[in-house]
Amino acid sequence: MARSLIRRLAAAAVVAFALAASLSALTPPSIKFTDTTLKNGLRVIIAEDHVAPVFSVAVVYNVGSRNERTGRTGFAHLFEHMMFKGSENVGPGEHFFTVFSNGGTMNGTTNKERTLYFETMPANQLDAALFLEADRMRSLVIVKDGLDNQRNAVQEERRQGLDNQPYGRTSEAIDDLAFDNPAYKHSVIGSMEDLSAASVDDVAAFFKTYYAPNNAIIAIAGDVNTASTLERMRKYFEPIPAQPPPPAVDIAEPPQGKERRLTLEDPLARLPRLDISYRVPSNLSPDDDAIETLSQVLAGGRSSRLYEDIVRQKQLAVQINAFAPDSRGPRLFRIIAIAAPGKPIAELEQAIYAGIEGLKAGPIAGTEIDKARNAARRQLVNDIGSSLSRAIRLSDYALVHGDPGLINTSWERLAKINAADVQRVATQHLTPENRSVVVTTPKPAAGRGGL
């Protein structure tokens, strides 16, 4: 055993050396774009190319679940559904009907930070796409039966995704436990009670406050002509009046103080699950890349530290993941492990802590950093391959960092990642008093089922 391990390590080192030598000066193509702000404050980013007869539009509104007030959790996402229920010149459902029946795809998605709408269509349908987006930004129709209908759909979305699934309520419990400020404490999907309470007046007020052109960014990528697209953008969007800026979100989070713990019983789960979550700085922090790299070094793939030690060698868990969801405010560095059948959760938890302490004590190998860097680069190349990903990346960089040009400079920025920074953020943030631990245990069902 000892001999074979040494042999494996020696061979791994040889492989790594050969590869490191071959990682070349390869760079992705640069994305050219224009960045214009219309008179009403709408920011317009256009990235023209002609690789395929296709374009994508990403419309991002600077509003997410963090903007919701107490008693209206889930509202930003419920509102997103209302954006498909019609506007002055577009009937209920006509938005998605128009896009799909002309060969396109589209969707909307909401997170804590923002609400994003997008469509990809054949190149000859640019007017249709821009008209659809402008009409609903300008003149959303807000009626009760549409709201009731989408309230139902969203409540089913919650049931399907959370309430009827193993571990469905765990993530919600984690945010509630780890955060104190209401902005980030609740889930995006929201509570059934709050969804039921949402009114037509709420929809109208939310629309006026947050769906203003000065609170939005539109990125268009693909087979378009920049000058004529900008001209169309002015025609369709510039008449929409700006609104007073929305109230700033209070994202201040009181210090955590000490470890928090919770045990949940889940009648739908079959195996225990352990969630360990540490508060870490936002994407705007200079440590953003180091935090991402930390998640890769710990649990990014099968050669990562925790997978190798805990899943493969000790066999205490059958799955382990680490990630830090994007946020401009407080956020969590999350570690999720599903315990192997019959293995004690306490032992699993201690093994994870031992892995973290080992990382802090060092050293971190150069190849561990290389893996994280290469994964990020690979993702970047993959993303710029589709007009939709290009549009979304541009709009997201503009929203979060104010700079869509990061799409071209992040490649170089990734070169600066280093082991010392990764170790420093681990030491600083992955501490006992900064963590919240949730254990989800299966609760045996009352009956065996059947009629």
Binding site: A16, P122, Q125, Q165, R312
Partner: protein, 493 residues
């Protein structure tokens, strides 16, 4: 709106069932419907459908029988490949060992004569490359897929070849895999969608291999290292395999690379392993899995349909688009946008080498199970009873044809069209003529196909939900076969 994408869709039943349901549906459970789609017709849409010229892959037949297809595209520095190996999929599992092909495929990745499992992981992750070996539970083929930045392509193909040709199937790795997989098999039984799909497979295909969607724990326990070694030796043959590579590489480069790395993969002169047709199901049935604590009922309705090469394939695709092919489908508009029963409802056509199936699926809150199933069955009934209106048919066809432009964004997606053409021996101009064939589909053809394949006496209904609340709803439809969440039959009532 985050529309759910699912492989298994919804719907259907007999005239008798539909009649019974509509008579029984308690109106007080039904929210007042709103309008699903209203067309004001003011959106400045172009009525032209872009004419698309599809690029063709370059192709070559190698000495060992392997067919090579390359779609060269240099817009990004990356390369992806797919290798399909007929005869190595779960379809060919021994009947008492469902999962053997999947176990073999998974274990190949766990070590070769010269590389340990850890080394393979380390190398792939350092390259930021992906490499996956899989064998679908019902598929006749094993599939190896990979992708990397183009300066790593040679190393990736080298690794893939080593894993393909020289797997070591170490006992220690198999024991680890068994432990992880046992847990996975246990976990998936917590997912109501899995439970529904598993029973639906049995309902539609009976004992035919197409019924399989997952290995069983019993097969996992029964399998030995020697089974894996033997399966690999007997089934991983190059004679009828196809290697499809897309991206920053030429045919000449790809050929040189593949011939060099796969030199040891010798022709066997074996014939293509045959598949058989499933036995037609004897009448419609209703199946129920009681899942305590469910807050929704998962529904799947469907029937055996056609094989990929059937002349009615295009007709059934258009029919499927009309009833359940995405958010413009009748199911989505009716069950969600009008009634608010569900987050999503859709249908799909699975047409493999042998007769496949059409199915519709949704999940609805428990207390509207009855009206939702009634409406779903009524939508299927309408497809059989009434021709699709001209405008709706034109919209569905335009959607299918115009969306071809989007595939030009992805070389890998484009190439997969040609792989399908090769695998099913379709005509060389099959995809060039696709728009014409779809355009030619008539409402009469759809009506005839719906009557033939979605006839009431063919349809199987599967429901998964709260046993305390859903049972009576289904009993109105006829005799219900009941199961528990372990897949064991409890009885019929």
């Amino acid at each position: 709106m985050r529309i759910a994408h699912r492989s298994i869709g919804i719907i259907v039943t007999t005239v008798a069932m539909a009649a019974a349901l509509s008579a029984q549906a308690p109106p007080q459970q039904t929210p007042s419907p709103t309008q699903g789609v209203v067309k004001k017709g003011k959106v400045p849409v172009s009525n032209q459908v872009l004419k698309i010229k599809l690029p063709r892959p370059a192709e070559a037949d190698l000495a060992n029988g392997l067919h090579l297809m390359v779609l060269e595209d240099h817009r990004l520095p990356q390369v992806s490949f797919q290798l399909f190996i007929p005869g190595a999929g779960g379809y060919f599992d021994p009947p008492d060992q469902p999962g053997l092909a999947a176990f073999a495929a998974a274990l190949m990745r766990e070590g070769t004569a010269t590389r340990t499992s850890e080394q393979i992981s380390e190398q792939l992750e350092l390259m930021a490359a992906s490499l996956n070996f899989g064998a679908g539970a019902a598929s006749p083929e094993a599939t190896i897929t990979g992708s990397s930045l183009s300066d790593q392509t040679a190393a990736l193909i080298d690794l893939a070849s080593d894993v393909l040709l020289h797997p070591s199937f170490r006992q220690e790795e198999f024991a680890r895999y068994q432990q992880r997989t046992r847990a996975g098999l246990m976990q998936q039984r917590g997912n109501p969608g899995f439970l529904a799909a598993e029973l639906f497979g049995r309902a539609v295909y009976g004992e035919h291999p197409a019924a399989r969607i997952s290995p069983t724990a019993a097969a996992l326990d029964r399998t030995t290292r020697q089974h894996l070694v033997d399966f690999h030796q007997a089934h991983y043959l190059p004679d009828h395999a196809v290697m499809a590579i897309a991206g920053d590489i030429s045919l000449a480069q790809a050929r040189t690379l593949v011939e060099a790395k796969l030199a040891g993969w010798k022709k066997s002169s074996a014939t293509v392993p045959p598949v058989t047709e499933p036995v037609p199901v004897d009448g419609p049935k209703i199946y129920f899995i009681g899942r305590p604590n469910s807050v929704q009922t998962n529904l799947i309705v469907g029937a055996q349909a056609i094989e990929r090469t059937n002349a009615e394939y295009d007709v059934l695709q258009v029919m499927n688009k009309v009833i359940g092919g995405g958010p413009t489908g009748r199911l989505f508009i009716h069950l969600r946008e009008e009634k608010g029963y569900t987050y999503g409802a859709s249908s799909s056509l699975n047409a493999p080498q042998h007769r496949g199936e059409w199915s519709a699926s949704t999940s609805v809150r428990t207390d509207v199970t009855d009206p939702a199933l009634t409406d779903l069955l009524a939508e299927v009934g309408q497809l059989r009873d009434q021709p699709v209106p001209d405008q709706e048919l034109a919209d569905a066809k335009r959607s299918m044809i115009a969306s071809f432009a989007l595939s030009l964004e992805s070389p890998a997606q484009l190439l997969s069209l040609y792989v399908t053409q090769w695998r099913y021996k379709l005509a060389a101009d099959y995809w060039d003529r696709y728009p014409d064939r779809v355009s030619a589909v008539t409402r009469e053809q759809i009506l005839a196909s719906a009557r033939k394949y979605l006839a009431a006496n063919r349809l199987q209904i599967v429901a998964v939900g709260d046993p305390a609340k859903v049972g009576d709803t289904l009993k109105k439809l006829g005799t219900v076969e009941t199961y528990d969440t372990e897949g064991k039959r409890i009885g019929s009532r």
